[in-house]
């Protein structure tokens, strides 16, 4: 077979393969692109309370700038995000270290740790709602049994964000711990042997070797949790619906209520696209950080 014929056959095969895979590719791209394009289009529309629709250009986005609820929701979202992420990363690394060294209890401890994040968030929300009920819940019963005053937990405007952050930390710290544990297990033993020969203390070994080498893994865990935390919805909706008052009204909860309770789908779309941009921004920032700490 001449080279020209072989090239022709290869091109034909490539064309056939492209044609065969095209429907799947078009379908997949369509499935991803259509909702995004549709939401962008909705963001330029205004829907009255009665569902009447009109094109308003960028009015929904300019409305965001003067909407107190938007800025408040942004503040609540960021506060909840930072508090939860810091708690989960610190506790997750600590748990991973415990798991790494507690070799005898590996199977049992890992199974126990996996259980919270295997639980559907709605179930977790319902469970914590009962536990944290100021009158009937176990949390206040325990506090009072040891002589501490009861707390309003989710009903207190000042405590609601830390309380929700604690619930999320309970559910997702094991997930962070498992990611970090994977990172710990892949660290090269030779650097630890060298440190041991040089007489480094366990604390110094952790500070100078383990933590720097683990940073790319920790940043990966931070990216995964950031996406979830900035879009945090289910547990908040189940436990407080954004209350008391507006104390836990995150952007996601606010957008949902504007869209599905007050029927202003256009403004809700603008809110959600803004939130999406924030999520992308956070992921991009962490990606850059991951590049900087890679080894």
């Amino acid at each position: 077979m001449s080279q020209a014929t072989a090239t022709l056959t290869q091109d034909r095969q490539r064309l056939e393969l492209s044609a065969l895979s095209a429907p799947a590719v078009i379908f997949t791209v369509g499935m991803i692109a259509f909702p995004v394009v549709y939401t962008v289009w909705l963001g330029f529309q205004s829907f009255s309370s009665t569902g009447k629709q009109s094109f308003v250009g960028l009015a929904n986005y300019s409305k965001l700038l003067t909407d107190y609820e938007f800025w408040h929701g942004l503040w609540v979202t960021i506060a909840l995000y930072v508090l939860s992420l810091v708690l989960q990363l610190v506790l997750g690394v600590w748990l991973a270290l415990v798991l790494f060294h507690a070799k005898r209890l590996h199977g049992l401890v890992r199974s126990l740790f996996i259980s919270p994040f295997m639980m559907p968030p709605v179930v977790a929300g319902m469970m914590w709602l009962v536990i944290l009920d100021p009158s009937l819940g176990a949390a206040n019963y325990i506090l009072q049994s040891i002589g501490l005053p009861p707390s309003d937990w989710l009903a207190s405007p000042t405590l609601v964000i830390p309380t929700i952050a604690l619930v999320d930390t309970w559910q997702w710290t094991p997930y962070v711990a498992l990611i970090v544990l994977g990172g710990l297990q892949s660290l090269p033993p030779s650097v630890y042997e060298a440190a041991q020969i040089d007489g480094a203390s366990p604390l110094k070994t952790f500070q100078r070797i383990t933590l720097p080498l683990l940073l790319p893994t920790i940043v990966t865990a931070a990216i995964l949790r950031s996406v979830d935390l900035l879009r945090f919805f289910d547990i908040i909706y189940i436990t407080t619906q954004g209350g008391p008052g507006n104390a836990s009204n995150t952007l996601n909860i606010y957008g949902f209520r504007v869209g599905f309770e007050f029927f202003n789908i256009g403004y809700a779309s603008a809110l959600m696209l803004t939130l999406t941009a924030i999520v992308f921004g956070a992921v991009l920032a962490f990606n850059r950080l991951r590049g900087a700490v890679a080894w």
Binding site: P134, S135, A155, F260, E261, F262
Partner: protein
């Protein structure tokens, strides 16, 4: 074939069919849409649960298939918004709360006009026997948009044993409630003296009753009226009761938390929906120590909140006539009697006089009090929950916010009502 098997195979089905058609009106061709499938979007509450226990009866009577999509209330509305905005015919019949979303859905054109359909009914349907107040509440711009499924409203649940122990009379007025709560708090510190709804979107349901009993109104001269003397009095009274005598965390309380607290024996006085009777009595612990009374009177007397869920047909349904068969069956005297025997208050006064229903009522003293409270709802009820505007659901947010601001002592009553009035005036101005 023996006489017994002949009886089982032939006579019993014929007898059953005859009874069924008699119950639903033999003069009416119930089989007209045999083979069709009706899709019903239901809110998973005790009303739909009671109705759907009779689903087989509908399918047998009409030969139609009833496809049921059940969601929790908010998720049901979420699904409805998606379906209706897409002008989809996926849903034929759905449940609606006219007092909340009636104006909005009617203005959006989501409801089919049921007025002409009410002419096409079985002989024993008794359209005139349905609560006229509820039919009126479901009528917008002269069009009947939904058929009432039940009647409900907030009533007072009280613990007879605790009131007796503390020497407290059953409250007849709102001032009595305040005095009783104070006395109960001093008498037994382990009991929550009073509980009512404190969750922001849920407050309007019980607060509206207090506002109306005190003599206030939501609007005056086209403007929000919460800062009127009566409005402020209602805000202070309602939030004061919850702040001073309510359970900790009451700002997150709606009907599930209130019923759970009362059922567990931890509250003495409770304003909650008449619909919650079955939940409150669940387990039997409260059957013998509970009394029920209408919402206590204020300076304007008793203006109880009386609302009801309705069944409506989607304006986008392509089989509205067949859907009407389901609506008609579900709101017929026979089905509403069967639902009443499951604790769903009937929107037909005649059902309350039915011997079978009377027997059920007479089985427990608490049911008699329940029926007496329902009679007050039916005769004096107002369906105004929140502002009578298109954006009613959003108006409830601002009412709830004002009440929560006062419960949490975040604002004075003047600040709370002024902020609410400002937001509500903007809402009223929206078209």
């Amino acid at each position: 074939m023996t006489a017994k098997t002949l009886m089982a195979h032939v006579a019993i089905p014929i007898l059953a069919a005859a009874t069924l058609s008699q119950a639903h009106g033999a003069d009416f061709n119930w089989k007209k849409f045999q083979g069709k499938t009706i899709t019903f979007l239901a809110n998973s509450n005790p009303i739909s649960q009671a109705l759907l226990t009779q689903k087989a009866d509908f399918e047998k009577l009409t030969g139609m298939t009833l496809k049921v999509d059940t969601y929790q209330e908010q998720q049901m509305r979420q699904r409805l918004v998606t379906v209706m905005n897409a002008h989809s015919d996926e849903v034929d019949v759905f449940m609606t709360l006219p007092s909340r979303e009636g104006e909005q859905f009617a203005a959006a054109g989501w409801y089919a006009d049921l007025t002409p359909m009410t002419k096409n009914v079985a002989g024993n349907y008794d359209f005139a026997g349905l609560s006229q107040a509820l039919l009126k509440a479901g009528t917008f711009n002269g069009k009947l948009t939904s058929m009432p499924m039940n009647i409900e409203g907030p009533i007072l649940y009280y613990r007879t044993d605790i009131l007796k122990k503390c020497g407290v009379e059953v409250p007849k007025t709102i001032k009595d409630v305040q005095a009783a709560a104070k006395k109960l708090k001093a008498c037994d510190s382990s009991i929550t003296p009073f509980v009512s709804r404190g969750l922001k979107p849920a407050v309007a349901y019980t607060f509206s009753n207090m506002l109306h009993n005190i003599g206030g109104s939501y609007m005056a001269n086209g403007k929000s009226n919460l800062c009127s003397p009566k409005g402020k009095e209602a805000l202070e009274t309602y939030s004061g009761l919850l702040r001073d005598y309510g359970p900790p965390g009451v700002v997150n309380y709606s009907f599930p938390q209130i019923s759970a607290l009362y059922r567990s024996g931890r509250s003495a006085l409770s304003f909650e929906s008449s619909n919650e009777l079955r939940t409150v009595m669940d387990g039997g612990a409260r059957l013998k120590d509970t009394g029920l009374a209408p919402f206590p009177a204020g300076e304007a007397g008793q203006v109880p909140t009386a609302i009801g869920w309705g069944l409506t047909i989607s304006a986008h349904s392509k089989q509205q006539e067949a859907a009407w068969y389901f609506v008609q069956w579900a709101t017929s005297p026979e089905i509403q009697k069967r639902m009443a025997l499951q604790g769903i208050a009937p929107p037909r006064p005649a059902v309350a006089k039915d011997p079978e229903y009377r027997k059920w009522i007479d089985e427990a003293p608490v049911r008699k009090e329940w029926q007496a409270a329902l009679d007050v709802l039916a005769t004096k009820g107002s369906s105004e929950v929140g502002y009578p505007i298109v954006a009613n659901p959003q108006s409830r947010e601002f009412i709830g916010q004002a009440v929560q601001d006062l419960i949490l002592k975040q604002k004075t009553v003047d600040q709370a009502c002024a902020d609410a009035d400002k937001a509500l005036d903007a809402l009223i101005a929206q078209k």
